[in-house]
């Protein structure tokens, strides 16, 4: 019996599903996601969820989060998509630096990001003071919350949209130009629709990150409370059970928004056959 035959028969004798090891490793990770989730939700029964959520503090937090996260997402989209397009299409000196800058907010811990923001827009900085003077305080305000959320969440938009534009063959845009469309019309009629799935994915990620944002928000605008900052306050005051209602609300809002965006904004990028 040759060596190959020997090896083959040994393999056959203990034939296992080919990806068993991978499945087991992945399963461990999945369990570490699912277990805390399930146990946490298991506490729901012992907490007056609805009553708590109807309380003023909770309602204010939910309202603030629902006001700020969509605005942060909109800003990140309006400014991030053009940047993503430029990064996907152009080469220019210093491009690597710009790319590093884009991921900076992802690399920096949110609390530190918040501190950085404070150093620019804080109450006693020139910008912060000027804004406060005209009645738009940039800290401890909803504007501050939006700033913090945008800072932390916008990179998701840029990175995802950039990948989307990068996957659109440049020749498709050139064809559009040769068919009489200028660069902007080509962007609107070809690049944008073809990258729409990636952009929608970016919107979803950005929104989920923004509405859950805590670290930077806490530094820039501890008040007015959003859901995450309220959860922190509740936790300090009442332990884990106290955060269950708002945590559920945050989860629900995020799920509903993500599902809705994907349902309605998920523009088909391919004509049905």
């Amino acid at each position: 019996m040759s060596l190959v035959d020997a090896t083959r028969s040994a393999t056959n004798s203990r034939r296992l599903p080919p990806l068993l090891v991978f499945g087991v490793l992945g399963g461990i990770l999945l369990a570490s996601f699912a277990l805390p989730f399930a146990v946490f939700l298991g506490r729901t029964g012992s907490v007056p969820v609805v009553e708590t959520l109807l309380g003023t503090a909770s309602r204010t937090a939910v309202r603030n989060s629902l006001l700020t996260a969509p605005v942060a997402t909109a800003i990140a989209t309006a400014l991030g998509v053009p940047l993503a397009y430029v990064l996907a299409r152009e080469t220019f000196p210093g491009k690597r630096l710009i790319e590093a800058l884009v991921v900076l907010p992802l690399v920096v811990p949110p609390v530190v990001g918040g501190a950085m923001l404070l150093s620019v827009v804080g109450q006693f900085t020139p910008i912060g003071a000027a804004a406060a003077r005209v009645g738009v305080p940039l800290t401890d305000s909803l504007v501050g919350v939006v700033l913090a959320q945008t800072f932390v969440a916008a990179p998701f938009m840029v990175i995802t949209a950039r990948a989307g534009f990068g996957a659109v063959d440049e020749r498709l845009e050139q064809a559009s130009r040769s068919l009489g469309y200028g660069p902007l019309a080509t962007f609107r009629r070809v690049s944008l629709p073809l990258a729409s799935r990636a952009i929608v994915a970016g919107v979803v990620l950005t929104f989920a990150r923004a509405i859950g944002e805590f670290g930077a928000t806490m530094m820039v605008a501890y008040n007015p409370r959003t859901m995450p900052t309220r959860i922190w306050v509740d936790f300090i005051a009442g332990g884990i059970d106290a955060v269950v209602p708002l945590a559920l609300a945050l989860l629900a809002v995020t799920l509903v928004v993500v599902a809705t965006v994907q349902r309605f904004a998920g523009v088909p990028t391919v004509v049905e056959r």
Binding site: Q174, S178, L179, G180, Y181, V271
Partner: protein, 371 residues
């Protein structure tokens, strides 16, 4: 002159993709821009369409300098090498896309979409998705899309390269038909000499970014101006030749065998060394060796015109026979050790056989002083 390039040069960094390229297309002409991969063909297309700014030189359309005009204002139709139909639009919307950018009314757009889909014989696929089309249909829709706005010039960048052989030939004929029917001035870019020769009124051969030959396909094929053109336009055998003017009489050797100067093509005059090209289908094989070396018409020659009529003979040994279906490619090593390929339509030769090669002197093209 519908399209004219004047001394167009383009560099990507230090690399020169186009080197002082000048060419012009008359109204309604179909010109093939032919060259091996990486010779700058696509760069030329990009420069004409306006998708890149040439480093130097001018591009003129209908006499107007458009070098600095953006692509959307050039009225140049392009079919790219890779398919570029928009997957988020139907076939009809794709064809109508270039019409909506103009000021055509919606019903006129629709009418013209129908007309051009009929031209490419795909009228029934108007509502289909591009993804459901075959490779050939995709190309035809792209052709319709490029033609619908009625461009001044149509650029076809390797339109057949992704298709299989049978489809290739059919689409090639289709392109010629559509071009004749619409009369659009067309630059057909290809690396395939067969495609180029069969479609074009005129050939422009590009090598390393420079134009090395231009003219009617048949003329370039039969009397190629350079060795490169000879070997690139169809298959060719190259043999070394030496000319010796000693002792008052000229002695010419091709492939190691001596023949009389009179039998030799014009290009050899005045040169000491040369390369001689002969097409594989211009060589005839006869089994059995010649008795007396080259049978140049030396002693019997009455003049060059008669010498041209007489065949040149050369003996060698078969080193291999390859059956390629519609013919046999026979490799023969001639007595100088150089190898030639002969096309033959009969079998019956095998390795080691002694054979005689025969060619008319007029089928030989000589290039003096090979490098």
């Amino acid at each position: 002159m519908t399209l004219e390039l004047r001394g167009v040069t383009h560099r990507y960094g230090a690399e020169r993709a186009l080197d002082d390229v000048s060419l012009s297309l008359d109204d309604g002409e179909l010109v093939a821009l032919l060259g091996p991969s990486g010779c700058g063909k696509t760069t030329a297309v990009q420069a004409i369409a306006g998708h890149l700014d040439p480093t130097a030189g001018r591009v003129l359309l209908r006499g107007a300098d458009v070098t600095d005009v953006p692509p959307e204002d050039r009225n140049v139709g392009v079919v790219f090498q890779r398919p570029t139909l928009y997957p988020h639009m139907t076939v009809g919307e794709n064809v109508g896309y270039g019409l909506e950018s103009g000021d055509l009314a919606a019903d006129r757009v629709s009418e013209r979409v129908d007309r051009y889909l009929e031209l490419v014989e795909l009228a029934d696929r108007r509502d289909a998705s591009p993804g459901s089309l075959s490779g050939g249909e995709t190309r035809r829709v792209e052709l319709a899309r490029a033609l619908a706005p009625e461009p001044d010039v149509l650029l076809l960048d390797e339109p057949l390269s992704a298709l299989d052989r049978g489809l290739r030939a059919r689409l090639r004929d289709e392109i010629v038909r559509i071009q004749k029917q619409t009369g659009v001035t067309t630059l057909f870019v290809t690396h395939d000499q067969e495609d180029a020769m069969s479609v074009a009124d005129r050939l422009v051969v590009l090598r390393d970014g420079a134009v090395v030959a231009a003219g009617a396909p048949r003329r370039l094929y039969e009397s190629p101006p350079t060795r490169f053109v000879a070997s690139f336009l169809g298959r060719s055998n190259e043999l070394s030749a030496t000319v010796d003017d000693g002792n008052g009489s000229r002695t010419v050797r091709i492939g190691g065998t001596e023949l009389a100067a009179a039998a030799v093509p014009d290009g050899l005059a005045g040169a000491e060394r040369a390369a001689v090209h002969v097409r594989p289908d211009d060589l005839t094989l006869t089994p059995g060796a010649r008795s007396d070396g080259w049978s140049g018409p030396s002693e019997r020659s009455d003049g060059p015109s008669e010498a041209d009529q007489r065949p040149i003979e050369l003996s060698g040994t078969v080193t291999g026979v390859r059956d390629v279906g519609r013919r046999y490619d026979v490799r023969v090593e001639v007595d100088s050790g150089e190898a030639v390929t002969v096309e033959r339509h009969r079998d019956g030769l095998s390795e080691g056989d002694r054979v005689t090669l025969t060619a008319a002197a007029s089928d030989l093209t000589a290039f003096p002083d090979p490098a």
